[in-house]
Amino acid sequence: MSAATDTGRSGILSTPYLLSAPALLLYAVLLLVPLVATALLSLHSFGIYKGIENVYNLANYRDIFGDSYFYEIFGRTFRIAFLVTVLSALIGAPEAYILNRMRAPWRGIFLLVALGPLLISVISRTLGWALLLGSNGLVNQGLTAAGLISEPLQFMYSETGIVIALTHVLIPLMVISVWASLQRLDPQIENAAISLGAGPLTVLRRIVLPQAMPGILSGGIIVFALSASAFATPAIIGGRRLKVAATLAYDEFLNTLDWPLGAAIAVLLLVANILIIVGCNRLLEKRYAEVFR
């Protein structure tokens, strides 16, 4: 394009930016500003007597990377997130497949049942789990009555408890995501595979699963991100002792009042989350390149 037409069209060129300005403004005010503020805050320093000091250094990050306490908490956070993601995929994907194969009235009813947990607040759901999983809770009573265990299992204040409760909280999101990808599946494709001599398991593994993979992957990203940054469930089930990154940041902000350290933890959680999700996405997208196109 020549310079003459360039100047002539400068008005047209700016039109897209003008049209998206309201959205950009919303994005900047609601997301960018708080994020940048948090990132800047994490560079400040904090003293018990001096409060927050307006200096810029990486002291907080140096503290975090130099202390095994933080490694433990971040390790736990992502171990929980990973387990929750795998469990949601293992339970949610077959659940969505079965739902998808149901007939007309039942399909709608059971879809509502499966997605029902989304209609209840996370707090009530988690408190419900606390009742079930306690030492005298239904699960332990049942297992004892069945003679499977002699002493109650310690679910509360344990990673197992957090994983169970988080999986329940987040599984509807996996179901929705896989459901959406199964909706696009041509039912005749399964018949085609059967007519070529494939048994039911082969059809599932070689025909249905690869086509459901985009749904499982996007569901996995949502579940992983939400469980890595989950606050309410780990706070209630994990209690004060068993901390994850989100509850740790909360404690730094509100108990220790060390806002800069809390901000640094939040920033690290965000960065780690992005790195892990983008990395896994790349790997899986390469493996299932054709289905994603």
Partner: protein
């Protein structure tokens, strides 16, 4: 014993019979079409043979084997679906190789047979392409290769050409027939396109409301339709109201000698439009519309027997103008007369 024998096949959904007491046979190497309007039960029939739908009653035997007692995966049928149903996450080669892998064919032989099958349908250069980056016609060919490569005992085609545009469809018809002949495979085609059924088949099963109205060679069904439904579904036809009194059959203001064996009263006369000619004397009428179709002329003529469709070959002769007074004539043996109210 026929190669494929369907006997008394019925499928009821609720109280409604989608397929009603259907019996038909297909000989080895024969190409048979199930032809009918949508909802006539032709696809349900194919799905029952394939094993995707369970019949309510009836039997299906293939090569002496009870097909209904065999799992769909073990029936050894090659099926081409209307939507092609290619595996979207596999390229053409992998799609075609899938059935061979299921049969446990060794890799070297598998590769050779896949290459052969792709060459047979003219897609040798597209082996590495994925369905998404292929045209409808190419996907169609992959689906055909995938069905043929497993050396099925029989080929089932479910409206395989209906998603292609008209020109491509004609090309594929010729090609399909050539491939079927060269492989010599017994084929059952489901279609709603009467021209396709007539062009491809050795025999046609014309279906209506779950029943077979007529099973015959295409030319027989066309010339001697068993019922007004068959006559109007296969090609264009005139259905004229007539009346038999004593020895004469009256259509409009003209009389013909009455055919034997039909009682007096109101009758329906079926008459193909290409059998009608313009003559000096005959049923008088006026040309209402005249359409030029290239190889043919199509006329609608107003007569005392109603609007009559006339088709004349374009032999270069002068044809009557719109509004011209004409006389229509035809041979008595080209008429098919049926009593009103009777089934046939």
């Amino acid at each position: 014993m026929s190669f494929l024998a369907v006997d008394g096949l019925t499928k009821r959904y609720g109280g409604i019979a989608a397929v009603d007491q259907l019996s038909l046979t297909v000989e080895k190497g024969e190409f048979v079409s199930l032809l009918g309007p949508s909802g006539c039960g032709k696809t349900t029939t194919l799905q029952m043979i394939a094993g995707f739908v369970e019949p309510s009653t009836g039997t299906i035997t293939l090569d002496g084997m009870n097909l209904l007692a065999t799992k769909p995966a073990k029936r050894g049928l090659g099926i081409v679906f209307q939507s092609y149903a290619l595996f979207p996450h596999m390229n053409a080669t992998e799609n075609v190789a899938f059935g061979l892998a299921m049969q446990g064919v060794p890799r070297t032989e598998r590769n050779r047979r896949v290459a052969e099958a792709l060459a047979l349908v003219g897609l040798a250069e597209f082996a590495g392409r994925f369905p998404r980056s292929m045209s409808g016609g190419q996907q169609q060919r992959v689906a055909l290769a995938r069905a043929l490569v497993i050396r099925p005992r029989m080929l089932l085609l479910d409206e395989p050409l209906s998603n292609l545009d008209a020109k491509l469809r004609e090309e594929m018809q010729v090609e399909l027939r050539q491939i079927q002949r060269s492989v010599g495979i017994t084929t059952l085609l489901v279609t709603h396109d009467q021209a396709e059924a007539m062009a491809l088949s050795d025999r046609i099963v014309i279906m209506n409301k779950g029943r077979a109205e007529q099973i015959a060679r295409p030319d027989c069904a066309y010339e001697q339709p068993a019922s007004p439904f068959v006559a109007s579904f296969l090609g264009k036809t005139n259905l004229l109201a007539g009346r038999i009194a004593a020895e004469t059959l009256s259509i409009g203001d003209r009389d013909w000698p009455a055919p034997r064996g039909i009682a007096m009263g109101a009758v329906t006369v079926t008459l193909r439009p290409e059998k009608i000619g313009f003559a000096d004397t005959g049923l008088a009428g006026t040309v209402r519309t005249r359409l030029f179709l290239g190889s043919q002329w199509l006329f609608q003529v107003d007569t005392s027997a109603g609007l009559i469709l006339v088709v004349r070959q374009n032999g270069g002769d002068a044809m009557p103008q719109e509004g011209a007074a004409v006389a229509l004539a035809w041979r008595a043996e080209d008429m098919r007369v049926a009593r009103d109210g009777s089934a046939a």
